[in-house]
């Protein structure tokens, strides 16, 4: 049996831009995004799948990029927080984060915004606080105590899809 190749060619679309990269099998998606594509909103923090601050959307679904090998996303569309808005304008959800002061140091904010964006797109209706709490359960914020983050996401769903929960 022949040995597998040392390098794997992957084609990915990152925030709408097609990329072709040669990666080593043990390179993680987190490393590729930060070190090779210089997308620094994807934070490497615990690097063991706990804090969730490296979360990106892979074909629209949140994944912790420290737990994803780069070869796994061959052919996939990757979205980081830079990719959810057009022409640099902030989204309604991002505006709600500002209104509710849903961040302090801001280190975890890209991940929470991405997961909030995913929840709004997945359900396309008013979200309950419980649903949002469950959705963000894989992310850690050491500043806010989560309440303003949940407020922001629920408020965004209210403005997008309905009135009171």
């Amino acid at each position: 049996m022949s040995e597998p190749p040392e390098l794997v060619t992957i084609r990915i679309k990152v925030n709408g831009v097609e990329r072709e990269l040669q990666v080593r099998p043990h390179e993680r998606l987190l490393d590729v995004l930060r070190d090779r594509l210089h997308i620094l909103s994807v934070r490497g923090s615990c690097e063991q799948g706990s804090c969730g601050l490296c979360t990106v959307l892979v074909n629209g679904i949140p994944m912790k990029s420290c737990m994803v090998l780069a070869h796994e996303v061959d052919g996939a569309e990757i979205t980081t927080v830079e990719g959810i808005s057009n022409l640099g304008e902030i989204t309604l959800l991002q505006r709600k984060f500002i209104e509710h002061f849903a961040f302090q140091c801001g280190f975890c904010t890209p991940a929470f915004v991405l997961v909030g964006h995913y929840l709004l797109n997945k359900h396309k209706r008013l979200l309950t606080r419980e649903e949002v709490a469950e959705g963000i359960s894989g992310l850690i914020c050491r500043c806010t105590g989560y309440k303003p983050i949940i407020d922001a996401i629920v408020d965004a769903s209210r403005e997008m899809y309905g009135k009171n929960v």
């Binding site: 049996m1 040995e3 099998p25 043990h26 390179e27 799948g49 969730g52 737990m67 070869h71």
Partner: protein
Amino acid sequence: MILPPFKLYKPRNIDEALEVLEERGDEVVVFAGGTKIMLLMQWGMARPNYIMDIKSLGLNHVKYEDGKLTVEAGVTLNELIDNEVIRERFSLLYETIKSIADDIIRNKATLVGNIVDAAPYATAVPAFLLLNGKAVLRSKEGTREVGGLDFFVDIMKTAQKPNELVIAIQFDEIKGKAKFLDFKGDSLFSVVNVAAIKYSQDGHDLVKVAITGLTNKPVIVDFSDQYAESKGNVDAFLRKAREYIRSEYKTEVIADARASANYRLHVTSVLVSRTLEVVVHE
């Protein structure tokens, strides 16, 4: 962080995958969700020579037919949570899966991976045991099924041979009342997992409990006789169940940095009592 280097096989079909396992089964780590091996590599506890990614094999189906559920190796936990059949007919499995890791990890981790890891913290193993779970193993020689406790040999050791691939897990639909509880102390990994079930068979009430995290291997305890003898005195039944766990597993209970033997024994007896209380409640 840089992971230790390894070589990658990406077979395009099951035959190619079985060929790799036939030649290099001892050195290959099978990778579906990959969450466990990624962790072990990041912690410096694993340096596999080869990883074989099986996501291109099309093992991503959930089938339900005549009361039997088949979950293939590539099906993620969140795909099962979103599945109506699981929600409505396999409530024990549904409740169990909701307890594994978090909502984001569940987009990647697979049910089959959780069971075949056979770790003491394997959350889905109690449900596997109580729902007559079977692992479907395939090699170049053919397909075989290994069910229940026979599948688990020791901590992180199963009946799977190096040249075999677990392609699916099967469960029976059991109409009864079931409850799952776990205890997570310091992380997303459980210290102890307990599931209980009560159902009727040939006019008798069967009451069983399955546990991981207590001993080297998962445990099934049949409390049917004690339940019948209690004649509806639930408090007495639960007290006896707690005492049984404490005395029967006193010498076999495992201990590690996360929980001492006494602590595990106590937590298990409490969870056994709490799950049984739910399933025997009229």
